[in-house]
Amino acid sequence: MNLLAALGYAVFERAPDRSFQLLGTAPDWLPDRPIEHAFPFLEIFLPDAEEFWTNPGNRKTLYSDLWTQNELHFCAIAVAGEQKFLLIECAEQRFRQTQGFAQYAHEASLAREQIAKLTEAKSEFLARMSHEIRTPMNALLGMAELLSETPLNDEQREYVRVFRRAGDNLLNVINDILDFSKVEAGQIDLEKGEFNLARVIEEAIEIAGVRARARGLEIRSRIQPGVPARLVGDPGRLRQILLNLLGNATKFTDRGELAVLVEMSSPEVLHFAVSDTGIGIAVDRLATIFDSFSQAEASTTRKYGGTGLGLAISKRFVELMGGRIWAESTPGLGSTMHFTARFSAAGAPKPEAEGNAPVILRNRGSRILLADDSEENRFLIRGYLKDSGCIIDEVENGAQAVEQFKQGAYDVVLMDAEMPVLDGYSATREIRALGATPIFLLTAHALREARARGFEAGCTDYLTKPIKKATLLEAINKFVPAGDRIQVSVEAWLKPVVGGYLEKRRGDVRKLRAALDRGDYATIRTLGHQMSGTGGGYGFEPITEIGNVLEEAAQAGDAAQMRASIEDLDRYLNSVQVE
């Protein structure tokens, strides 16, 4: 029995009177008290042991759970047979093994919960940031678009052009930052289209050049002979990589110049080098600058700003393009960021589409219900549709939208997703229950979840803010059937003269076209002015609106707008029907 004590067991024989008799030597951990008192755990094990001794079946032993008291770990074992024994084991080793396993499982489970929570928090943060940034961007870009449609002189037109392009680019950057989680998760898909390499480089230099020139830096570029002019790949991502590298180069260069060089590295692989004459990067940091949130020096963020995400995103894009990215630098003299990317050469260029033909709403005179709590956004949409002849009713929340919808026969509903009182998703669900009217959800959330939620609620399609005029009109054109006839009621006493009035306007269309062809804007202005003064009086509001636009466009010399308005007038005159 000394052996068992040495192995960590105290052995007791269970007497018929249910008392316990220690056999052999007592291990040093065994208290000098009756075991029922020494080990409180036995109060739940002994009833089970008694049952087992009475009726052991095929089993020889019954083990208790492990228990801990006074920092020691024990297990009780009931042994059945001719004699009945109770063993108390000081089970340190078994305890450690069991605990190690359970601890591992628990820590892994807690880590999983933590990751799930962080992922959820990140999605939430992205959705919120997306909303917060896109809402004001929507107003900014929309106003720029509306501004570009007003009479402007050449200088102003150029400012607005740069304004819009910079805004568009900023939006792209925001989108890409929002996409960073997708980059991390490997969910970025590259587009595959034909593009002109020189134009992509030019655009990148044009945008980056604004800041570079402000710092007194020049950017030059060179495409080596042998590089195909037209390539197949993702021009947007290539431009983003170049912009990022040029942006960094500008940030870290006080004097000198920046250069972009492109050459063939091997068939179908292009080598790009963006070099600067800036502060350079220490050799030991060259490899880590492409890691997320990493900048060459901790003090860099303080001095130069930036998130440290740009190079990590660029690296991922380059890898997706089948290339690699690396840096060379001589501190004090400058750095060169290199990357390779795989592109195939495109065939002969397709003739480019003729200009940017403005999209025209086919469904003139539609009744539109617009629900958005933002005054700026409502103003914007109203502006987009001001020449369309549409009747727009505006409300500020989902509950009002549902009420208003019940009042009037609407052809289309534009529903902001995030609104007070009742949000756009719930309002969509309620309106959908009332009928099949197309509902467009206006959402600042670029995230897939928001779209899925919209469709689940029954929206027809979604429009992501900032919404462009063309996108809005195309969406309405696509889902709202174009009415062949626009019914207009005119007062009885006007009916005899209405036919002649409309016929005269049809004649105006011919005159307007001819005047435009010969550059006679004065005639267009006069005809526009006449129309604006008379249309409404006969009950044809769109003619007044088109007249106003024509007059202003003629004054500003905006030929594209004049052409669009003349076509609008023609279309309206062909559709209008007097009741």
């Binding site: 739940i44 009833p47 228990w67 770990h73 359970a102 489970s109």
Partner: protein, 161 residues
């Protein structure tokens, strides 16, 4: 002297062992150590004019692999359902355990404890989700010590009524 068995039950990692350690030894250890089986401690307290020995049975937290052995609560005068305020799932687990215990052992006095009050800003457990059960509830921090003694003594007081 009067002796009362009190069991600590709840999901793993909610702080059952730490609450007992704080109450019995006035200590807290940042390291997480999984309890295996049962850990038994005792503490003599005075409630009103009554001296009571509390036998504290700290039962291994339930996880996906191991269920709570309800037979360990046999002979208990009451129990403490412990929830980690930072993990909403631990409240659901506590509700489930309460139902199982009541189903097998009948009505026993118990209190609900929302632990980790030092991390109150990160709590996921909603007040309404807790209050809907109408159970006697305490907020504690085994780390800072807040509310721990009050909670044990309140249950002890209930047990000797």
């Amino acid at each position: 002297m009067l002796k009362k068995k009190i069991c600590m039950v709840g999901q793993f990692g909610v702080g059952k062992t730490s609450l007992v350690r704080r109450f019995v030894d006035s200590l807290f250890d940042e390291r997480y150590l999984t309890t295996v089986g049962v850990k038994i401690d005792r503490k003599d307290v005075t409630v009103g004019s009554e001296s009571v020995t509390l036998m504290l049975w700290d039962l291994a937290g339930e996880d996906d692999l191991a269920q709570l052995n309800v037979s360990h609560l046999r002979g208990a005068s009451g129990y403490i359902l412990v929830v980690d305020g930072c993990r909403a799932a631990s409240l659901a687990k506590a509700v489930e355990l309460q139902q199982r215990i009541a189903g097998q052992l009948g009505p026993l006095p118990f209190v609900l404890v929302l632990n980790k009050a030092d991390l109150r800003d990160h709590w996921e457990v909603q007040d309404t989700a807790v209050s809907q059960h109408g159970w006697p509830t305490f907020e504690t921090s085994a780390k800072a010590g807040n509310g721990v003694e009050e909670m044990f003594l309140a249950l002890a007081g209930k047990l000797i009524e």
